[in-house]
């Protein structure tokens, strides 16, 4: 029983961080209809920002969220405005070109970081990095719990923003129907820029929260882009609520897989779920809701 509970705890905790990674990509996917394949690389940039702040200026990784998130927001806005939007304007170019552009952006980001920081592994040593507390026999890793709480707070803040503010409503409107939103007076170009920035800021927060737990090097982005993609498909393309369920499902599935199938098959479990979701649940977890309704 202990083994099962410990596995679920580990899965849920890591799932919280996966949620943050997935939501950002889902948001971008929903509004612009493109898959941002530079997502993990944006997270890596945020991790390096956190690393620099804490190694050279001794800023706690959690405080560096205040710097990393706005910085990535601006970077995201910049990328959308000057690199992705110009592609959208040209009719003769296929929409897929934007996706290809994100791949390129990802590569450039990784190589820039390699140029500055070399390929060495970096870690941030914190006093609480290895702390854990126990409830019964179940061990809870402190940084992971903090990250989980942060993930909940940030997600709630995002939902509040989307539901209550004008800009948030415009984002939702654009996601539902871009043409109609434009006709209703929403400046869709501005909205795409803000959305990309928002998505980048969200994944940046995941990066900063991962720093006390994990290490970083320039190639760390790739696997996380893949994870984010799986989460989006699992949750239903472009659905932010779905991304939360997708993230938690992936975290728990990976943990269960690692315990009961084999640690080496951990990644495979994620992809098996991915394939199953594509075959049987093309609408993702949100699709179930629609199915029940109809």
């Amino acid at each position: 029983m202990d083994v099962l509970i410990q596995t679920l705890v580990a899965g849920v905790l890591i799932g919280g961080i996966y949620c943050l990674i997935g939501i950002g990509m889902s948001l971008i996917m929903g509004v612009m209809g493109i898959i941002n394949l530079a997502h993990g690389q944006l997270m890596m940039v945020a991790m390096y920002i956190t690393f620099v702040l804490s190694s050279y200026m001794h800023v706690d990784p959690y405080f560096s969220l205040i710097v990393a998130m706005p910085a990535l927001f601006l970077l995201g806005c910049f990328l959308q405005k000057y690199l992705l939007n110009p592609l959208m304007k040209i009719d003769s170019i296929l929409p897929e070109n934007q996706v290809l552009m994100t791949v390129g952006i990802g590569m450039v980001l990784a190589e820039i970081c390699r140029f500055i920081f070399t390929s060495d592994y970096k870690t941030v040593q914190t006093s609480y990095g290895g702390e854990a507390f126990f409830i019964g026999n179940i061990s809870f890793n402190l940084p992971m719990c903090i990250a989980f709480i942060f993930a909940i707070v940030i997600t709630l803040a995002l939902f509040w923003f989307l539901a209550k503010t004008d800009t948030g409503r415009s984002i939702r409107a654009t996601a539902q129907d871009k043409e109609a939103a434009t006709l209703m007076g929403v400046n869709s170009t501005r909205i795409t820029i803000i959305t990309f920035g928002l998505g980048s800021a969200l994944v940046a927060s995941a990066g900063s929260l991962l720093i006390p737990i994990f290490y970083l090097f320039p190639d760390i982005g790739g696997p996380f882009t893949l994870k984010a993609f799986v989460i989006c498909i699992l949750g239903g393309l472009g659905s932010t609520v779905g991304a939360i369920f997708g993230g938690l499902t992936l975290g728990i599935a990976e943990s269960l897989g690692a315990t009961y199938v084999g640690m080496g098959y951990k990644e495979m479990v994620g992809f098996v779920i991915f394939v199953i979701a594509l075959v049987f649940l093309p609408g993702g977890l949100v699709g179930i809701k629609r199915l029940i309704k109809s």
Binding site: T123, A132, I213, F214, T259, G262, G264
Partner: protein
Amino acid sequence: MRVLKILMVFLLSVTLCFTFGMSSSMAAGSVKVGIVLPLTGAQAKFGEVEKLSFDLALEEINAAGGINGKKLELLIEDDTGRPEVGRSVVEKLITKDKVVMLGGGYSSSVTYAVAGVCQQNAMPFLVNTGSADKITTSGWDWIYRLNPPASHYADAVESLLVATIKPKSVAILHENSLFGTSGAKAFEKTCNNLGIKVLLKQGYEHGGIDYRPVLTQIKRLNPDIIYMVSYIMDASLLMKQSREMKLTPKMFIGGAGGFTLPEFVENAGKASDKVISATLWHQVLPFPGAMDYYNKFVAKYNRDTEYHGAEAYAACYVIADVLKRAKSFGNTDIKKALSETDLMTVFGQVKFGTWGKMINQNKADTYVVQWIDGKLEMVWPEKASTKKFEYPVDWLKVWGY
């Protein structure tokens, strides 16, 4: 159009002349040896230590007169830790740079791919780190290996187990790579021979965030020892998370790889103390020049070195020795000289022979080291030890609970 064509032809011929002129003038004064190492990518850390050691040895060899008056020149290429890149850079070294022999070889997967290319091209290749058994058991006669094969890394650990710890059960964790898998397989065999029960043998994908699920499983099985074949970051995370879960076997054993590096203690912190690891070399070993090499390295680069560096340093001296003795720089003459090698290096005696299923394999001893108060100390075999093996260990106290 025609003007353009003429211009192109002219430019092309100029470049051709220039390249040919360059290479022939360089060949006159130096002997070129290709070295393949991971200088970027996930294994760059190790590749760099080896490269710096090669550089150090090269400087000394050339200062002492080089190869019979000619300068030794090392062309160090980056394999990025990927077999396909390794293949292509080696093909380039052989066909374009016309090197006389090859050295280096860090990761097993890359080394195996590179060794295949060398065998096809009849190019002598002195491996100094790639340790998967099949590199020298594939019947390839152009491949020579300086370091012991992965299946023998645990030899010293084995004798320590028999003498002191006397465990009844073991759990083996290894990364899913050629090196990790063959290391784990060899240790499982050792355990079966010694009558130690293997409760769990599991591979994991390199670069995981959370090892708690598998550690929980191990905690339930409660083995006497946990044996891990992992690289640096996985090794640190495994130990950190074992500490968090209060996983307390009689001993944590690292099967070489990442457990002997300074970064291990840096990253794992308290969780690294008292962990033992198999290793192939330590500067306190009574080989001529071993301590000198360590001191020179630290003085020159202002950083620590370990067994990978010593392997590279020794390999460079072996290469120089072979080239000095070779009748010509033709491949068969170099191969003959390699076979006749009998040289004392900082890494110990180097002599290639055929034993077991292995061809052209050097026989080298292995050792056990332990992290004691943040320092890596030699603890086994006893005659070479710098500190007494600390055992039994009260883990909870060591970890500061």
